[in-house]
Amino acid sequence: MDMITIPAVNMTPILPEIFLSVLAMALLLINVFIPSGQKSYLGYISFVGVVAAGVLVGAGWGAPVESFSGSVVQDNFATFFKIIFLLSAGLAILISDQYMEREGCNHGELYPLILFTVVGMMLMAAGTDLMTIFLGLEVMSVALYVLAGFNRANLKSNEAGLKYFLLGSFSTGFLLYGMALTYGATGTTRIAKIAAIVGQMTVPSANIMLVAGMLLMLTGFAFKVAAAPFHMWTPDVYEGAPTPMTAFMSAGPKAAGFAALLRIFLVALPTLQVEWSQLLWVLAVLTMTVGNITALRQDNIKRMLAYSSIAHAGYALVGFAAGNGTGAAGILFYMLSYTFMNIGAFAVIILIGKKGEANGTVMDFAGLGFKQPALAVAMSVFLFSLAGIPPTAGFIGKFYLFSSAVQKGYIWLAVIGVLNSAASVYYYLRVMVYMYMKEPTEDFEWTRITPPIALSLLISVAGTLIPGIVPSVILQFAEQAVKLI
């Protein structure tokens, strides 16, 4: 009888994932012993865990390691994205506590679920095998479905969870089918091997199975990053999900989708770039335009930011369509900045909101500028950054993405991009108009700002402003990160 030999596996690349998984499971156990009303402690522990995982991840910078026979890798690309995921999770944890307490659903499971989501996302970024990426995606998605419907007592949250689950599973089907077809066409699921085999094909675009696989995978990921015309779920889910989870969903999972997309398309299918570039061109234009035009008319601020997040996915797709180093690095930079500015904006929304998801319209910001000057200034910073006005990270990010399109010769794409950007200014300004130029409709009782949410705001403002003024360091990191792929 043959002995099954277990190959020596290098665990270093997935050390942070293991750490977070163990922590999450431990937290589930600990949860049982913590009386309700004190669940915040779980949040603090998981925040510390996220920071620790960040240190672990950061230590792997510049030291590429491959493991599990090449299905997982620790490279700068993965590391950069993992940092984004951890940041989004950390910030989301910080802003959860106060909101969940208010809505009466501060259940201890929240924090482990966030950690599981992060683990899934990290695997997506680190996976160099279609299967690993798929598994990561599923781990992430399943946890997210629950998080979207986490506010059990709220009908809209339930709707969000269910809708996300149904549409999400549907899109996962597309993705998996695409992967299967790609496997059929190339005989492997390893990204590097796919690249080699496709590279040897004389005319890869004539291989129907491969092209169909590519299209289906694109569809699946386009759903995850909320690109038009696969964005229909976004507004409802973003509006219905608990606000901190909306913030989290709009930053982390979107970035994870881009991580997987970038790795699959740029590493495995560069020979098909002519084809997918054109597709992405159309997708980017659609996504930006649909997102921005629809956002113009939204009164509910979460819905507005949902459409704005669609638009932002569109800007990132501009860099993707360009498909060059600048574009890829631009996406990395943009996703990082977007994490700060968007979660920051949601943090302010949480503070404005009242129990039962009340006070969630743009009009409810009336008079904020003089009632809570510091908070309004922070919100202004986020909004200016989202609108892409210097000196903020959002501007540098757009600058990067649009230059990649110009570099590639996609002038019209860049022109459509900046016109979109100009249109978007209107709805971001609208919030500012309410904050500074309108009187409050009623004397509102002001919610206390708890230390965790204050910390998250501080981090977000710093993360939005500093890279806007001195972007060099982060730009270098982003450029090193995409060098390997």
């Binding site: 210097p390 000196p391 501007f395 230059s403 860049a414 016109l419 100009a422 200014v425 209107y426 450029e479």
Partner: protein, 497 residues
């Protein structure tokens, strides 16, 4: 004499530092006002000191020909963006105008702004930094940064302290300018990439990019994008529609700065960046430029004649006056260009003064309608005297400042395009018509409504006397200013004047 290039950084960021100082005391007007006054005066003194020593600086021959001071440091290495500031005669004139206009803006809002004073002052100071930066930046990316940054305070200024349909106006103003400037951003990026392709050097520096060889078609597109951004700011007909709204609804200080400075950033951008970077395209578009400028002069003058709101009337007159600046640039000829630049400063002073005066009247009568006044000469003689003086300056009465600019513009343009000069001349007649109507109905005539009006107080007299002195001085003895811009203009046009 030792000249430290860091002076330019101080010039740009001193107001911002002042803004940060004002913010902590923003709830105490009594502390914030003197603080802001101190910072703005300091800035003005620095600008004047630079002016006093410009000949000494010119003798030192810094890195770039024609520049008095240049500061250069790397900023965003990945893109080749540098922190390059440069001061030449033209920017120095604009810097002085900026520092001065802000003092005027502060003086006119000393009493008029009673609410949220600290925030108002902080925004003014932040805007001063942005505008200084626009006039000094020599790196296109840096220029773009300041170009956008200066909009933000103005947005709040009109939106918070404005009146009438101020929210509509401020959003319109912001969107118009954003739209133009984003396309310019793309053109800047494209130019940068084309240059990198040709020379292998990634740079946004103006003086490196000038050397880029561009095919005629590309040049036209890129210039088009720059032109659009600047034409909106200028504002050229038919892109001017934001201006009357913004002016009418802005607080007086906002109007002073809009007219005095923001419009100048458009013309300054065109002559500093647009023309030097794309000379052939600019040549090709000259007829269009002439046409728009002349159409603007005639159209704005006709519309101004029909206005009932004094502020709106002056806003339209601004469009007309800027039309002369545009013609002078379009002629791209030393005399006309010098005239344009002088006219930029003149217009800033004269129109700023007129806006300030209407603001003073508004404070007293709470209306700006022409039909509400009449016979002011008898009631508030001092106000009437100054108003008459500035109106005459605005018309271009010889001996007062606008005459110098308009004369130079028209005589220079005449050598290039007699037709354009001739048509522009008719504009002067139209200007006379609506200005005389304004003065006649407000200052003379008989009293139409019994308004209790007090004449100017000491603060206002000081301010207006200073402005009047400038108007006369620049009209009678413009030579020092012409000397100051002579060298840079020669370099820009590339020939002996």
């Amino acid at each position: 004499m030792m000249a430290d290039p860091h002076l330019l950084t101080i010039l740009v960021f001193f107001p911002l530092a002042g803004c940060l100082l004002v913010l902590p005391v923003w709830k105490r007007p009594a502390a914030a006002r003197p603080l802001a006054l101190g910072v703005m005066t300091g800035e003005l003194l620095l600008a004047l000191w630079l002016y006093a020593s410009w000949q000494g600086l010119a003798a030192l021959k810094p890195i770039l020909p024609g520049y008095l001071l240049v500061e250069d440091a790397p900023w965003i290495g990945a893109f080749g963006i540098r922190y390059t500031l440069g001061l030449d005669g033209i920017s120095l004139l604009m810097v002085m105008l900026t520092a001065f206009s802000f003092c005027v803006a502060l003086a006119v809002s000393w009493r008029a702004i009673g609410e949220k004073v600290g925030l108002f002052l902080a925004l003014l100071l932040a805007m001063e930094t942005g505008i200084m930066g626009v006039f000094l930046a020599l790196d296109l990316a840096l220029f773009y940064l300041f170009w956008e940054v200066m909009l933000i305070p103005m947005f709040f200024l009109i939106g918070i302290w404005g009146h009438g349909r101020h929210i509509y106006s401020t959003v319109k103003f912001f969107l118009f300018t954003m739209f133009g400037s984003l396309l310019m951003l793309l053109a800047i990026i494209a130019l940068h990439l084309l240059h990198a392709q040709q020379s292998g050097v990634a740079t946004f520096g103006l003086h490196q990019l000038i050397a880029t060889r561009l095919p005629a078609g590309t040049q036209l597109w890129l210039f088009g994008a720059f032109f659009l951004a600047f034409a909106i700011k200028f504002p050229l007909f038919p892109l001017h529609t934001w201006l009357p709204d913004a002016h009418t609804d802005a607080p007086t200080a906002g109007s002073v700065i809009l007219a005095g400075l923001l419009l100048k950033t458009g013309s300054y951008g065109l002559l500093r960046f647009g023309y030097p970077l794309f000379p052939q395209a600019a040549q090709t578009l000259t007829p269009l430029f002439y046409t728009l400028a002349i159409a603007g002069i005639i159209y704005a003058s006709l519309v101004a004649f029909a206005q009932e709101d004094m502020k709106r009337l002056i806003a339209y007159s601004s469009i007309g006056h800027m039309g002369y600046v545009a013609i002078g640039i379009a002629a791209w000829q030393p005399v006309a260009l010098s005239g344009s630049i002088i006219q930029m400063a003149n217009h800033g002073v004269t129109t700023g003064a007129l806006f300030a005066m209407v603001g003073m009247l508004d404070e007293r009568a709470h209306t700006r309608e022409i039909g509400a006044f009449g016979g002011l000469w008898g009631k508030i003689p001092l106000w009437s005297f100054f108003f008459l003086l500035f109106s005459m300056a605005s018309v271009g009465l010889p001996g007062l400042n606008n005459f110098v600019g308009e004369f130079l513009v028209l005589s220079g343009t005449f050598t290039k395009s007699p037709l354009a000069a001739g048509l522009a001349f008719t504009g002067i007649v139209l200007t006379l018509v609506y200005t005389v109507r304004l003065v006649q109905e407000v200052v003379f005539q008989t009293e139409r409504k019994p308004l209790p009006l007090a004449d100017l107080d000491r603060r206002e007299i000081c301010l207006l006397a200073l402005l009047a002195l400038l108007v006369i001085l620049m009209g009678v003895h413009p030579a020092p200013l012409l000397d100051l811009i002579h060298g840079p203009v020669k370099i820009l046009v590339g020939g002996a004047p």
